[in-house]
């Protein structure tokens, strides 16, 4: 029983981590309708920036982390300015192809800037787990989970209540209408990329704290995909719940099914969920349903 609770809690927290990465997806998708294949690479790039600031330059955490966020924001802005603002008005498909190019580019950029070695990521959150009775919880995931929930509700409030957020939601709905009301679509998309890059860096810190850092970490971008799909690409707060569901299912499947089938089903299972969602409800649980007048 105690094992079960352990799996449940850890699954949930991993799920929240996925949710945080998925938020990066969702924010960019909402503003630009671009499905960003390079989300995992943004996470890794953010990770390397943090590593560079904190481990390589040796800045204290309270200086290094804010600087890393600023650097990530600038990087996000740069990506939008260099690639996507030129493509305004082109087909969405073209932009999605660009994100694949971006994926390759970022990988190359990391090689050039930071070298090919596996680096050890600085320990941001203390390594000793939080122990409640017999339950063991990794500290980074616990703190990360709390941060994710706060960020999730914060963003949701921002997009539905504040004026700047509503502007961005209008852009998410219809670029032309937003433009006709005097909303700068370019600026909204740029801001979305900044937000996406910052969220990815935050995800990198929680995900990588005390772990080793190399390209393989970009797989988290793929793992976040089922979460974004389950929630629906427009829903910010819904991502939290979807993350919990995917995380818990994955945790339990890994614990109970892996030994039976000989491993790895836990990693595959979220994608099975993803396929099923695509069959039965392509707009996700909380996504914008296609409203059509007949």
């Amino acid at each position: 029983m105690i094992d079960f609770i352990n799996y449940l809690i850890n699954g949930a927290l991993v799920g929240l981590l996925y949710a945080l990465i998925a938020m990066g997806f969702v924010v960019i998708y909402r503003a630009s309708k671009v499905f960003n294949f390079a989300q995992g690479e943004l996470v890794v790039f953010g990770g390397f920036i943090v590593w560079w600031m904190v481990a390589s330059l040796g800045l204290p955490l309270w200086v290094g982390l804010p600087l890393a966020f600023v650097a990530a924001a600038i990087f996000g802005l740069l990506v939008e300015r260099v690639f996507f603002s030129r493509l305004a008005g082109e087909s969405v498909f073209a932009m999605v192809m660009v994100t694949i190019g971006l994926l390759i580019l970022i990988r190359g950029l990391i090689l050039v800037l930071f070298g090919p070695q596996v680096r050890s990521f600085p320990i941001i959150f203390p390594l000793q787990p939080v122990i409640i009775g017999d339950i063991l919880i990794p500290r980074s995931l616990l703190v990360g989970g709390v941060i994710t929930v706060i960020v999730g509700f914060g963003l949701s409030w921002f997009f539905n209540r504040t004026r700047a957020g509503l502007r961005m939601t209008a852009v998410a709905e219809d670029h032309q209408v937003a433009l006709s009301m005097g909303i700068s679509v370019k600026r909204s998309i740029a801001f979305a990329w900044v937000l996406g890059a910052v969220l990815s860096t935050l995800g990198a810190i929680i995900f990588l704290s005390g772990k080793s850092l190399n390209f393989l970490a970009s797989d988290i971008g793929l793992a976040a995909l089922p979460v974004a799909l389950l929630a629906g690409f427009e829903a910010i707060a819904g991502v939290l719940l979807a993350g919990l569901i995917v995380g818990i299912i994955q945790g339990l499947v890994t614990a109970y099914l892996d030994p039976i089938v000989g491993g790895a089903i836990g990693t595959v299972f979220p994608f099975i969920i993803m396929l099923v969602i695509l069959f039965i409800r392509p707009t996700g649980m909380f996504g914008w349903k296609t409203i059509e007048r007949v």
Binding site: G89, A170, H175, Q176, V177, L179, I291
Partner: protein
């Protein structure tokens, strides 16, 4: 005063949609832009608001000015800021947002949240129907209600001039009357209107001045009452003959229109 001088619009560098038109919309007046499908009416509005650029179109010659300032080279955002708002064809509500959120988005240029609230109350006061619907998701509203929402949304920006593209499109006759009643109120309140319509009767009813477009050119213009009694307009757009009898559109010899205007 909005002025267009020999404006020419080209889409995708090849399609000449507007072939050098000039028109003027004086302050506080209502001007109607009439004409059949594909005449270039919507394109003209999009050229004024600047939306044309995201459709791969360009104003290639002529100039557009509002209150003496050129607006054909500036960003759509700045056009709105200068006081012109464009209500696009087809009731483009933000479908997944509520009525109130739609209106709030319309008022996004106000300086503070309190100002937005104030404008919101004004709009609710003008369009009572919207106050009752404020928490409804706009995608599920009826066509007439959606038209009210987009007009209300335009009012939120506190514009000097509202350009409306086909407000009567796909609405029931009673609803059309209601929409135009609202437009009349707006006009009475001092807002300048530029209306694009296919429904010539209702448009000439509210307008002070009208232009008729065919094939990207203005073929006829005049005060609304003159247009109403113009032989060609009566025949081709109002479906009446000279004595005021209803005439079947089937009997209209459209080649005559072509000869007279397009030749």
């Amino acid at each position: 005063m909005l002025e267009l001088n020999n404006v020419e619009v080209i889409y995708s560098d090849v399609i000449l949609a507007v072939k050098g038109i000039s028109l003027a919309v004086p302050d506080g007046k209502c001007v109607a832009l009439l004409g059949g499908n594909g005449a270039g009416k919507s394109t003209t509005l999009k050229a004024i608001s600047g939306i044309i650029r995201v459709e791969d179109g360009r104003v290639t010659s002529g100039n557009i000015s509002f209150d003496g300032k050129r607006i054909d080279k500036i960003e759509p955002t700045d056009v709105v800021r200068s006081g012109i708002i464009h209500v696009m064809e087809g009731r483009r509500v933000l479908r997944h947002l509520t009525v109130e959120q739609n209106l709030q988005v319309g008022g996004h240029m106000e300086s503070s949240g309190r100002e937005v609230r104030k404008r919101l109350d004004e709009v609710y006061d003008r369009i009572r129907r919207l106050a009752a619907l404020k928490d409804r998701v706009t995608g599920y509203l009826s066509g007439g209600e959606q038209q009210m929402v987009v007009i209300g949304r335009a009012m939120m920006a506190n514009p000097k001039l509202i350009m409306i593209d086909e407000p009567s499109l796909g609405l029931a006759p009673l609803m059309i009357d209601e929409v135009f009643e609202l437009l009349k109120q707006l006009k009475a309140g001092g807002t300048t209107l530029l209306i694009v319509e296919q429904n010539t009767r209702v448009a000439l009813d509210i307008a002070d001045y009208g232009y008729v477009m065919e094939n990207g050119r203005i073929v006829l213009e005049g005060a609304a009452e003159d247009l109403r009694s113009n032989e060609d307009v009566r025949e081709f757009y109002l479906g009446l003959d000279l004595e005021g009898e209803r005439k079947s559109y089937r009997d209209i010899k459209h080649y005559r229109r072509r000869k007279r205007w397009l030749g």
